[in-house]
Structures are given as structure tokens and as C-alpha cells.
């Protein structure tokens, strides 16, 4: 499974085939279909965002230039959602990465039940987001939830607390759920990075008298920096995009306490059927995300041969 397995060297234009139409022919079906089902809808989204368009009233579609965009920047809910999105990503990603790092370092050690532990830890990754959301709603439940029960028994709390119904805690409750859902991804990626560091580095460092902490800072961290960077970028993009868990857990409430930008766009379209404004919100959010996507793409581009 490595690129070293390729025995025949190749360069641009080495064979006659490389300039033929054949590879394009092989690519045509996939390219055509993705153009149709991804890029055409995207163009439609941009088109919609320039219109005042409420579904079920197709006759009322009017072109309003950037009216939706201007409305968005004057919209108080837009700014609440914007700050929530930043807070949400700013806490979730570091929490996932840190927990993933600790998990990976532990799983990189030799112990007899390591394969079992590794398999069990990635379970959250495999669960449907609806199930995750409902499961955690049950845990946070004000009357019967196990979280209140545990805190009560430990003597930390005297009465039950509605974690998801209180505007001060709802966003953080969702963040904990997303951290739980996402840390296995980091653990798996970082573990792969750890395993690519040659053992001899640590042996040499130990001979030179380096402490565990020094080994971690000077060998481990530089060794996994590449993987960690890629994982953080990918995960930030995914977490920023994901709205299913939050939608099922709180529906954006209470009030606007757990509204994020993509969720606001979705709710605008789904509840208010305001597809013009919803599309404009989605386009604004996509533009904001573009910077991160470009950084990621340029990293990948370097690894392509």
C-alpha cells in the first residue's frame, strides 16, 4: 500500500497514451454526473440567493440583486449565528484534537487489549447523527437524564438542571456532544502519524538523556505536525458544515442560543420556506469557509504527483 510499489518510473508524456483522449473518456461519466448533481445545483443556489423567493409561491420570484445579502448583514440573528459559529468551532476543534492526541498517544503503547480498545473507541464515529443527537438529549434530559442524576449523587448539584433548555448552557452541551462524536477521527489520524515516527529516534534521544517531555516536544510533536494540521483543517471544515446533530438536539434554540450560520440558513428555508434568503446565507457562509478550503487544497496539491 505504498507509492514505492510503483516500479516503473513515469514522467509527463513518457508514453504515447498520456496525450490521447483515452483518460478523458474514462473520466467523462464521473465528471458529467458531478457537474450535473453538484455544480449545477450550486449555480442554482447562487441564482436563488439573488432572488426574493419563497417556495410554494413560484409566481413571486423577483430578482433583487444583492438585497438578501444586504438584509443579512443588517440581520441581528445573522450576527448571533456568526459569533456562535466561531465559538462553536473555536472550542469543539481544540477539544477534539486534544482528546484525540491523548487517545492516540495511549493507543500507541503496547498493551494486550490494544486492538479491542482501538476498535471500541471509534464507535462514536460510526453512529448516525440522529441517534447521537437523541442519545445525548436523553442524557441531558432535565427530569430523567443521567447527567443530572450523576451530578446529584456526587453532591455537585442540589436540583436538576435543564442543560439544553437553558440559553447559557445549551451551546456548550452541544459542543460536548460534538467533541465526543469527533475525537475518534483525530485519534485515528494522529495514531497513524505516531506510527510513522521511527522508534530509533526515541532510542537515540533516551541515550542522550532526554526526558519524556523533551522527547514529546522534540520528536513526537514535529513528527505528527503534518497529520495534525491536515486533520484540524479537514475537521474544521466538516464541523463548520455539520448541522444535523445540532438541528436534532436543539433545533437552534432556546431562542437563537444554538443557531450557527449553516443552521440558520437551513431553518430559514425549512421553516420559513424563504429559499432566497436561506440560499444567500448559505452562499455567505461558503465564502467565509473558502479560505480554509484553499489552505487545505494547497496542502493536498503538494502531495499530488
Amino acid at each position: 500500500m505504498s507509492s514505492a510499489a510503483r516500479t516503473v518510473p513515469h514522467g509527463r508524456g513518457r508514453t504515447r497514451e498520456s496525450v490521447s483522449a483515452f483518460p478523458y473518456l474514462l473520466l467523462t461519466p464521473a465528471v458529467l454526473v458531478t457537474l450535473l448533481i453538484v455544480f449545477l445545483p450550486m449555480a442554482e443556489a447562487i441564482f436563488l440567493s439573488l432572488h426574493d423567493y419563497v417556495v410554494w409561491r413560484p409566481a413571486d420570484r423577483t430578482f433583487i440583486w444583492f438585497g438578501n445579502f444586504i438584509a443579512a448583514f443588517k440581520d441581528e440573528v445573522f450576527w448571533i449565528s456568526f459569533w456562535n459559529t466561531l465559538l462553536w468551532i473555536g472550542i469543539t476543534i481544540p477539544a477534539q484534537a486534544l482528546l484525540g492526541l491523548v487517545t492516540a498517544i495511549l493507543l500507541n503503547r503496547d498493551f494486550f487489549w490494544r486492538p479491542v480498545a482501538r476498535a471500541l473507541i471509534i464507535i462514536p464515529w460510526a453512529l448516525p447523527s440522529v441517534v447521537i443527537a437523541l442519545m445525548w438529549r436523553w442524557i441531558y434530559d432535565a427530569n430523567y437524564g443521567v447527567l443530572n442524576d450523576i451530578l446529584f449523587r456526587l453532591g455537585i448539584m442540589q436540583s436538576s438542571f435543564p442543560w439544553l433548555a437553558d440559553p447559557d448552557t445549551a451551546l456548550y452541551a452541544v459542543i460536548l456532544t460534538l467533541t465526543w462524536q469527533g475525537f475518534p477521527f483525530f485519534a485515528v489520524m494522529i495514531l497513524a502519524g505516531l506510527q510513522s515516527i521511527p522508534r530509533s529516534y526515541y532510542e537515540a534521544a533516551a541515550i542522550d538523556g532526554a526526558s519524556n517531555w523533551q522527547q514529546f516536544c522534540n520528536i513526537t510533536l514535529p513528527g505528527i505536525a503534518g497529520v495534525l494540521g491536515t486533520a484540524i483543517l479537514l475537521r474544521t471544515i466538516w464541523v463548520a458544515n455539520s448541522i444535523d446533530v445540532i438541528y436534532v438536539m436543539t433545533g437552534g434554540g432556546p431562542g437563537y442560543a444554538t443557531h450557527t450560520l449553516p443552521l440558520y440558513a437551513f431553518i430559514e428555508a425549512r421553516s420559513s420556506l424563504n429559499f432566497g434568503y436561506g440560499s444567500a446565507l448559505a452562499v455567505i457562509f461558503t465564502i467565509m469557509l473558502t479560505g480554509l478550503v484553499l489552505v487545505y487544497l494547497s496542502r493536498v496539491n503538494r502531495t499530488l504527483d
Binding site: V130, F275, T303
Partner: protein
């Protein structure tokens, strides 16, 4: 890391911390399973039953007998299999082209497939709804399969490319010297060799389609209601029946979870390969 650790040190340094993380990862799922075995009356009066003698399958019987849950599973299955077939069939030849040929526009096209997975779902979901409504496809399997394919096709192109890259080119060339055409070499030599990779990719597409919720909610309806949407509708109007809901969660998550455990090794090696190189 090099020296041997004493048993006490390894207990507190390794076993207990790993155990804590495993408990954190599995705890919510186990709690859900325990809830699903607890009868409704017991749940309201005494909470979740920890004593196995009090467990019953009543919630599951109600779920299978009195709701449309079995039909929802069939719909989820049709959509997931459809997405797997569409995703795999379109991506094999594309991945072969990316792996074996160097041609102008190759990088741009590879990046094109990668960038698709970065688009926010909301950006696609609204126009897809408008387009599907225009085509009269709302509430059909086709609509959900097409929507899921927006993610499945690019993912599968990248995975397949990495699998084909791991097969030496000399094998294609040997087959062609023996009289195979390019496509013949792909079919007779490459495909059998990457079959495990194809299966892993197919299973992963199956899992993501099975777990998908937003497209199913928006583009589905009364006729085509997948398992994820059905679980959500189990929430009653006045009171949440947690026993029924958690039974739905356990059953609904079962296929994806088992498949994931089955392919995790191969999948992870495919996923992390690119990242480690970078």
C-alpha cells in the same frame, strides 16, 4: 517508551486512562441500550433498570409491531445500496485514469473531486430541493440516491485512486503485452486485486448513506421515509417515549456500527495514507 514499565506504572499510566476513554466513548451508547431494555413504566418510576432481571424486549416488540420501522429499514436499504452502486460504478474508471495516466488537467480534475466534499450541505440542499421538485422527484428513492451520491462519488474516486496506486504498473503492462486492451487489463488484472478496497469503499458509502439525515428529511416524505427520519418522528407529540426512541436508536445504528467494525482497519489505512504523506 523504550524502557519496560513496572506493572503499577502501566496500570495507572496506560490501562486506567485507556479504560476511561473507552468508557467515555461507549458510555452514551451503553446507556441508550440499557434504556431500550427498560419497560416504560419502570423508566418513569425508577429510571433506567440496571438489573438484567427487569429487562424486557417490550420496546422492541412495540417498535417492530406497531410502527413502520421495518419498512423504514427497507427504504434506508434501497437508498444505501443505490448510492453504493452509483458511487462505485462511476468512480472505478475515473480512479484508473487518475492513477495510470498523466494528462493536462489531471490535477485540476482531482482537486475538483476533492473540493466537492468541502461544500456545505446547506449550499446544496436548498437548490437540490428546488430542482427535485421541478423534476417531480421529491419523495422518491432516486432523489435520495442522487443527493447521497454528491458525497459518495468524490469520496470513492479518491479512495479508489489510492488503492489502484498501490498496484504496480508492471502488472497492467504485462497484461497488455499478453494481448489485453487497457480496459481488459483494468477488468482482469486491476479489479480483482483492488476488490478488498472496493468492498471497503462500498461499505463506507453504505454506512454514510444509511446514517444520512438532512437530505432524507428534506427530499423524502411519506412514501420514502428512511430510518434516520423515522427515529426522529418517534418523538411523541406531548411526551417523549424514551424507551421506544432508544430501541429505534439501537436498531437503526446496528447495521452501520457492525459494518464499521468490520472494515475499520482497511478503511483507516486508506483514509490516513494521504494525510501521513502530507
Amino acid at each position: 517508551m523504550v524502557r519496560r514499565q513496572s506493572p503499577l506504572r502501566s496500570l495507572f499510566g496506560t490501562h486506567l486512562p485507556v479504560l476511561a476513554i473507552v468508557a467515555f466513548a461507549l458510555g452514551p451508547y451503553i446507556w441508550m441500550a440499557l434504556t431500550s431494555f427498560t419497560p416504560q413504566e419502570h423508566l418513569l418510576q425508577a429510571g433506567v433498570a440496571l438489573d438484567p432481571q427487569k429487562w424486557t424486549a417490550a420496546n422492541y416488540e412495540r417498535l417492530v409491531g406497531r410502527t413502520d420501522f421495518p419498512f423504514n429499514m427497507v427504504h434506508s436499504f434501497i437508498v444505501a445500496i443505490g448510492t453504493v452502486v452509483l458511487g462505485l460504478s462511476l468512480s472505478v474508471t475515473a480512479a484508473y485514469a487518475f492513477s495510470r495516466f498523466r494528462f493536462p488537467g489531471r490535477r485540476v480534475l482531482m482537486i475538483k473531486f476533492l473540493v466537492i466534499n468541502m461544500f456545505p450541505v446547506v449550499l446544496l440542499i436548498l437548490p437540490l430541493f428546488v430542482i427535485m421538485r421541478r423534476l417531480g422527484l421529491i419523495d422518491t428513492h432516486a432523489a435520495l440516491i442522487i443527493a447521497n451520491a454528491t458525497v459518495a462519488i468524490p469520496f470513492s474516486v479518491w479512495m479508489m485512486t489510492s488503492y489502484i496506486n498501490s498496484i504496480p504498473r508492471s502488472l497492467d503492462e504485462a497484461a497488455m503485452i499478453d494481448g489485453c486492451s487497457r480496459l481488459g487489463a483494468l477488468r482482469k488484472v486491476i479489479l480483482p486485486l483492488i476488490l478488498p478496497g472496493i468492498i471497503a469503499t462500498g461499505i463506507y458509502i453504505f454506512i454514510t448513506s444509511w446514517n444520512e439525515y438532512l437530505y432524507a428529511l428534506t427530499l423524502g416524505g411519506r412514501n420514502v421515509r428512511t430510518i434516520t427520519v423515522a427515529i426522529q418522528t418517534l418523538i411523541g407529540e406531548y411526551q417523549i417515549e424514551w424507551g421506544l426512541l432508544t430501541a429505534g436508536g439501537v436498531l437503526g445504528a446496528m447495521p452501520a456500527t457492525l459494518l464499521f467494525l468490520l472494515i475499520q482497519k482497511r478503511l483507516i489505512s486508506g483514509l490516513t495514507q494521504g494525510a501521513v504523506k502530507g
